[in-house]
């Protein structure tokens, strides 16, 4: 019996004005693409806090895709440029964490480019499938308040744990500048 094919989980942060609209267009146009991508709609790719990307990886994503408007087309003028700057630095840093380059991708996809959503999602799914599961060694969680100080067992490599959603998305995410 052959092993079941690895199905990567890819979290996609799409800006509402361009890439998310393009994903809608792909759907309306009956374009088929890999179901491995879970899209999260944000107002702007500039809203993609690097914390969101890390939280996705921490909570089980094998890849993260960021989609925004083409340069010059941002609804908020500058958001996609900031997305690019953070992406470039995050990508450099993730390699030091041992996370392969192909697991994080940034694409400019306009509202008219449903076919590009299809192509990018398919490509990335195959690329991450080839890389295999991310298998982070999860850090122990901050214990809930009021629990006893009993030793927490060392996590084995790749230990599967109940996912506890970090309160990242609840945070104001206020940029301290």
């Amino acid at each position: 019996m052959s092993e079941p094919r690895f199905e990567p989980r890819i979290v996609a942060f799409f800006c509402t004005w361009c890439t998310y609209t393009a994903a809608d267009l792909a759907g309306i146009s009956r374009m088929q693409y890999a179901p491995n991508v879970r899209a999260i709609r944000l107002m702007c790719s500039g809203r993609v806090d690097p914390q969101f990307v890390l939280a996705a990886f921490r909570d089980g994503a094998d890849g993260v895709l960021i989609g925004g408007c083409h340069p010059g087309d941002c609804h908020y003028q500058q958001g996609n440029y900031n997305a690019l700057r953070r992406f470039e630095l995050l990508r450099l840093m993730l390699s030091d964490f041992g996370i392969e380059e192909g697991r994080l991708r940034l694409e400019w996809i306009s509202a008219a480019e449903g076919d590009k959503v299809q192509r990018v999602c398919n490509e990335m799914t195959e690329q991450v499938r080839a890389l295999g599961p991310l298998r982070l060694v999860r850090g122990p969680r901050r214990r809930p308040r009021g629990t006893s100080g009993q030793a927490e067992a060392e996590r084995g490599p790749g230990a599967v744990e109940e996912a506890e959603l970090a309160p990242v998305l609840e945070m104001g995410g206020r940029e301290a500048r």
Partner: protein, 332 residues
Amino acid sequence: MTKPKVAFYWCASCGGCEEAVVDLAEDVLAVVDVVEIAFWPVALDFKVSDVEALADGELAASFINGAIRTSEQREMAELLRRKSAVVVAFGACAWLGGIPGLANLSSRESILELVYRGSPSTPDGDGVRPREETDVPEGRLRLPHFEETVHTLDQVVDVDYYLPGCPPPVELIRSAVTALVEGQLPEKGSVLAPDVALCAECPRVKTKPADLRVTEFRRPHEMIAEPETCLLAQGLVCLGPATRSGCGAPCIAANMPCTGCMGPTSRVVDYGAKALSAIASLVAAEEEDAVGEVLRRLVDPVGTFYRYSLPASLLHRRVERETAASRGGAEG
């Protein structure tokens, strides 16, 4: 009236936090006036059995500095937790993992291999490594177990308060002790420091441009920074925008950029990600290649942005390829 008992303990850290207590100078006498030091191995002769002999919760507070890397540190943290009404994570290492936490970029095995065999200062020998148990005529000797990763204190025991800094500023220590003695401690889980970014108290903030743009990052040894202008505006990676204030900005006063030892404000989950975000957004370039070129000048991004907080980060440690690559293992 009996004075409240307090304990100080030192886990994986450099000893600077102990020094910070000594830096209270003559004020330490005022502290001793109001509290009784029941355990402080670095300064006074106490044994673990002295702590074990205390009733559970008898210590008013334990100030524990350092991250947790060995079984000994874990056991002491658990013992002090049991004996203490309040546990304070003292300093960056206890709160966020600190400098020792950067060891989470290496595997346990590679650390032991380097230290006991590979290091240039290790003589060629038989590659002997310390064993956890050794039998000698006098009995069995034991060494603590060196754990797989570095943990923060609150990943091991319940922590009530956090004193940030590397080491915590004397002013913050003093006000924490005062609050403890007077029963004026804030809500459990609080970081005992102001909750705004360092820029808010930086003496150079007036020279920080409203729309700050960096065309080239530079490192402190490559330039002599102008002593009154915002260091970010001079291209130095100053983490003041992402770092909690309360330190009095001594590094800035010494013309050195903030490296982030005071950790994040309460609105931030992952310090390094937020610091990275703040710095990356300053890049003036807009083209992909140009942006990459500017950012590649930032040597060692993990060490820059997670210098004090890697174990507390969302990713916690580097992915170990040799284990991660062993797909189709025990669980699918």
